[in-house]
């Protein structure tokens, strides 16, 4: 089950500043919805623990994240993969940065998640709105953090 989202927003920071924020897992990962903890494996790989689930049925998912693309100061792409109760999920989150007049940056983001397994069958109808809600949380958090 593929879920795709995208959008853009403008922040009062330069592309270089936004880029530095995005590629720093210590600053970026806590913005992930239901973030619990993070363990850095190396410069580009880290393990994030998230609380996942629907309503009272919840569990912890260990998601292996990696910075798949890093093109300073234009583009950063994360890829992640993890097991969730009843299935597996993979995700790809890309951020393209464009300078706009006034020293601001337009962040064009694209999120893509692929959920497989029983969870897609059990909760397929709920996953998309849930994912949308969580992505919005992430973007809201990102906008807030970038001022």
């Amino acid at each position: 089950m593929e879920i795709k989202f995208g959008g853009n927003f403008v922040v009062k920071k330069t592309p270089a500043q936004v880029y530095e924020f995005l590629v720093d897992p210590n600053r970026f990962c806590p913005l992930l919805p239901d973030y619990q903890s993070m363990q850095i494996v190396d410069e580009k790989n880290f393990l994030v623990k998230l609380s996942v689930g629907i309503s009272h049925i919840r569990g912890t998912a260990a998601v292996k994240m990696s910075l798949a693309e890093a093109d300073r100061p234009k583009r950063a792409v994360y890829e992640g993969k993890g097991d969730v109760p009843g299935g597996s999920a993979s995700l790809r989150a890309g951020f393209d940065l464009e300078m706009v007049p006034g020293g601001e940056t337009k962040v064009i983001w694209l999120g893509q998640a692929n959920v497989v397994g029983r969870i897609a069958s059990l909760a397929g109808g709920m996953l998309e709105p849930l994912a949308k809600k969580n992505v919005q949380k992430l973007i809201d958090g990102l906008q807030k953090a970038l001022g």
Binding site: N114, V116, R118, S121, G124
Partner: protein
């Protein structure tokens, strides 16, 4: 002249079958005059003997068994439909207290050989192991297993197994499979598992001479299952000391399963001991649960020969047991004469067997048992293929492979009827095989034994009030309501000839059909019948008792029947199991033969004991129970005394009676030959029960939800051994079919996720969704069985045909052609949208109508 020749040919085939029947039916010994039996119990709607036990919760199912030291197994299953396995780590699971051992796919691969494949060529290159080791090919495929002291520990430990995958592009439709861009089994070099051309008559000539030729675009028969109340279950014990594997399972074809397990596990077949008890429904799909049986045996061996139980969960069942076959029909052309009689059909069919063939590709020939359906079609060309896809493997689901062909034929009949303006009932009357043409030989050599389809339709129309509904429909249409009337004619071909497997693979080492039974008087004179059958609700204990009661002149409650497969205690042949609508023929013929032999022995022994003559003896029930009376002297002896004389009080018994054991075995052999595999010609099955269903359906104009307003079914299964059981079976198959037509669908998304892995999503039919059924019964006795009975119970998915016909009747005026076997409010809405956009314009096309030749 042509008709005369066909008739002679049909009679010739029928004569051959009758001649063979005589050879295979036991004959009474000379001088035994009293063998003719009065049919007192056969034909009576007595209550099922099994019910008392089952409704009081006294049935014994696999999961009721608790053995000393028994462990529980839990499978870790693939989340992906198609992916490489890059890592399996069971260390955390093994560390959990209570876990005894684990198994991974790689480990299992080293312990077994892949299962044998029935198909030839590319199919032989499939390596079907009981667990995946390098890649997974359907969601739900086992990749590891955990064995623990309790089921709950096993479940918790299974969650700790870590598996990494690398996704591969899944193959989810027949069309995608045929492209061969992504291969399910790369060793095959293709996704095509089987291909064959079935051509009979002169198809091209028939098209040239046709008054009308109708072209029909893609149609699709959807994937659904049977959802038995009891899921798959097995207990396995690998006993290393006695070098035997013991199974308690609900596999419904144990003799077949053993033939797959033996080479895979590397043991002799006589080292495999199978037992079955009560089974909570099977409908065919439990035939293919043997991969799980293999893993359970391996787990038992690894766990030190301790018993290992697997009781499947519903989600596991939906994801990883077996589904029914899905079929897509392409490029269909239908030739008709000026009266709307179909003279030729040409089409290309692609069957989807899921990830592993297992019982397949037998479905690629089994459909041919009912090639022309109920119709006099003589010229037919079907290009048949089967493909593998990244979906759950299929199993022989109720109505297996024939229902897909019957649905196809019913669809083209209705589509042509609507296109040419011929009413649906009239269309059938013009095309049905007539009663006076029976036995009827089909173009591919199958012999329809008996039947009166036109009479059944007339009965059904009367039952449902067809003419009244036509008037109501016309009035309702004026009010803007969508009401449709539909008819579905179906056949239940029963007692199959395994020789048809040779058409699939010339080297297939099986043919014919046989069943065995024992009838005996035990040491205290109780009549005991042993069967190897594995009933799942068909009432074998009851019907077997009725047959034996008639032979011995006693009542059915005096007959103890021991059904269930038991390698050590019950008799069986390699065909033994419960499948393919045949117990009334093959099972009861074996029982009847055994009972006749027992009667003959009783007669001889009683004549000696009563100092009388066999011709003067009467079988019946007296003050001391079952007994034999000498009608001349009025002396009698009961069964206890007779059994006593043979077993424990036999001094002085004359030597000529020493062969009497009161333990009589009979094997029934169905009168079959091996088909001509080049011409794909021969008798593939022995009997043809028929059902005709009629429905009135209204589609809500706001929600597009279809609602059945009236439903009638007429059944003809020859002589009904127990009309109550027959009616129950008809109700069951009707429920199954209505569920399939309107609710149940094993739908997958394009990534290979099964979207119906629970009952909440699959929505199996319940009593709440069932319409009231009007039921009618006719009897056209089979000339090919000793009792005139025909196998029945599968039902040929008649409601699927009927519902589709009624929906099309309701919506044809709106431009809708029903081209899928599954229809819901949602899909009907989409169909109407498609019709509005002209989407059906190319779906049905009249290629030509000759001038002046319309009906």
């Amino acid at each position: 002249m042509d008709c005369r020749r066909r008739s002679d040919k049909s009679e010739g085939m029928a004569r051959t079958i009758r001649k063979q029947m005589k050879r295979t039916t036991p004959k009474p010994k000379a001088g035994v005059a009293a063998i003719a039996c009065v049919s007192k119990w056969v034909g009576q709607p007595i209550r099922r003997k099994e019910e008392d036990r089952l409704v009081r919760g006294k049935g014994i199912f696999v999961d009721d068994q608790k053995l000393t030291g028994m462990l529980h197994i839990r499978f870790v299953r693939s989340s992906y439909g198609h992916a490489k396995i890059t890592r399996v780590d069971v260390s955390k699971a093994e560390a959990l207290p209570g876990v005894v051992c684990t198994l991974t796919g790689a480990e299992v691969k080293g312990m077994v050989q892949p299962f044998i494949e029935i198909g030839p060529d590319a199919g032989q290159k499939i390596a079907d192991y009981p667990m995946a080791f390098d890649k997974v090919v359907f969601q739900g495929e086992p990749v590891a297993a955990v064995v623990a002291e309790t089921r709950l520990i096993a479940e918790d430990a299974a969650e700790l197994v870590e598996v990494d995958y690398e996704p591969l592009p899944p193959v989810m439709t027949a069309e995608d499979a045929l492209k061969d861009e992504s291969l399910v089994h790369p060793a095959m070099g293709t996704n095509k598992n089987w291909h064959g051309l079935f051509e009979y008559g002169d198809v091209d000539k028939a098209f040239k001479q046709a008054a009308h030729v109708v072209h029909i675009g893609r149609m699709h028969f959807h994937r659904f299952s049977s959802t038995p109340l009891e899921n798959n279950a097995v207990i396995a014990v690998w006993d290393s000391r006695s070098e035997r594997i013991e199974y308690w399972s609900n596999n419904s074809f144990p003799a077949f399963a053993a033939q797959f397990l033996s080479p895979a596990l590397g043991v002799r077949i006589d080292q495999i001991f199978m037992k079955s008890f009560d089974i909570g429904g099977g409908f065919g799909i439990k035939i293919t649960n043997y991969p799980y049986m293999a893993v359970c045996a391996l787990a038992s061996r690894k766990a030190g020969d301790r018993p290992v139980k697997w009781a499947e969960t519903r989600t596991e069942h939906m994801q990883g047991s077996a589904h029914g076959n899905e079929r897509t029909y392409f490029d269909t052309r239908v030739a008709l004469d000026k009266n709307g009689v179909i003279t030729a059909v040409a089409s290309r069919h692609v069957d989807d067997c899921g990830a592993y063939p297992r019982y397949e590709p037998l479905g690629c020939v089994i459909w041919a048992q009912v090639m022309p359906a109920s119709y006099r079609l003589k010229n037919i060309r079907i290009d048949m293929s089967q493909v593998v896809t990244n979906k759950c493997p299929v199993g022989p689901n109720r109505g297996y492979s024939r229902m897909q062909q019957l649905w196809f034929m019913e669809r083209i009949l209705d589509i042509c009827g609507h296109t040419l303006g011929i009413p649906t009932d009239e269309m059938r009357m013009r095309n049905y095989i007539r009663k006076d043409e029976m036995p009827y030989t089909t173009p591919n050599g199958c012999v329809y034994d008996s039947g009166d389809y036109a009479g059944m339709l007339a009965m059904g129309k009367k039952l449902i009030g067809w003419d009244e509904w036509k008037k109501k429909q016309a009035a309702a249409r004026k009010e803007g309501r969508w009401i449709g009337l539909g008819i579905g004619s179906t056949l239940d071909s029963g007692t199959n000839n395994f020789g048809q497997a040779r058409i699939i693979n010339a080297g297939a080492p099986f043919s014919g059909q046989s069943k065995a039974a024992i009838a005996k008087l035990d040491i205290y004179g109780e009549v005991v019948v042993s069967l190897g059958s594995v009933p799942q609700g068909q009432g074998h204990e009851t019907t077997a008792s009725q047959v034996v009661a008639d032979v011995l002149g006693i009542s059915p409650d005096m007959v103890k029947v021991k059904p269930g497969f038991d390698t050590e205690q019950n008799v069986y042949t390699g065909h033994t199991g419960t499948y393919g609508s045949q117990f009334a023929v093959s099972g009861l013929s074996a029982i009847h033969g055994a009972a006749q032999k027992l009667r003959a022995e009783i007669s001889r022994m009683a004549a000696w004991a009563l100092r009388g003559k066999e011709k003067d003896l009467e079988f019946g029930v007296g003050a001391q129970g079952a007994e034999i009376r000498d009608k001349r002297t009025r002396k009698s002896i009961n069964y206890w005394a007779l059994a006593n004389l043979v077993n424990v009080n036999n001094a002085g018994m004359p030597e000529e009676l020493w062969d009497i054991t009161f333990n009589c075995r009979h094997v029934y052999h169905a009168p079959f030959h091996i088909p001509d595999i080049q011409k794909k010609y021969g008798n593939l099955t022995l009997t043809y029960a028929a059902q005709i269903h009629l429905a009135v359906i209204e589609i809500d104009r706001e929600t597009f939800q279809p609602k059945i307003l009236a439903y009638a079914c007429v059944d003809d299964c020859g002589k009904a051994i127990n009309p109550r059981i027959v009616e129950g079976q008809v109700h069951g198959c009707t429920a199954h079919g209505i569920g399939a037509a309107l609710m149940e669908h094993c739908a997958y998304d394009s990534d290979g996720n099964l979207l119906a892995s629970t009952f909440s999503d699959y929505t199996p039919i319940t009593a709440m969704n069932m319409p009231d059924l009007l039921y009618g019964h006719m009897e056209s006795p089979s000339p090919f069985t000793y009792n005139g009975a025909k196998g029945m119970g599968e039902g040929g998915a008649a409601p699927v045909h009927t519902v589709c016909a009624a929906l099309q009747d309701a919506l044809y005026a709106n431009g809708v052609i029903v081209d899928d076997s599954h229809n819901t409010g949602d899909s009907i809405f989409r169909s109407l949208q498609r019709a509005k956009q002209g989407g059906y314009k190319d779906m049905v096309r009249v290629e030509y109508q000759r001038a002046g030749r319309t009906n």
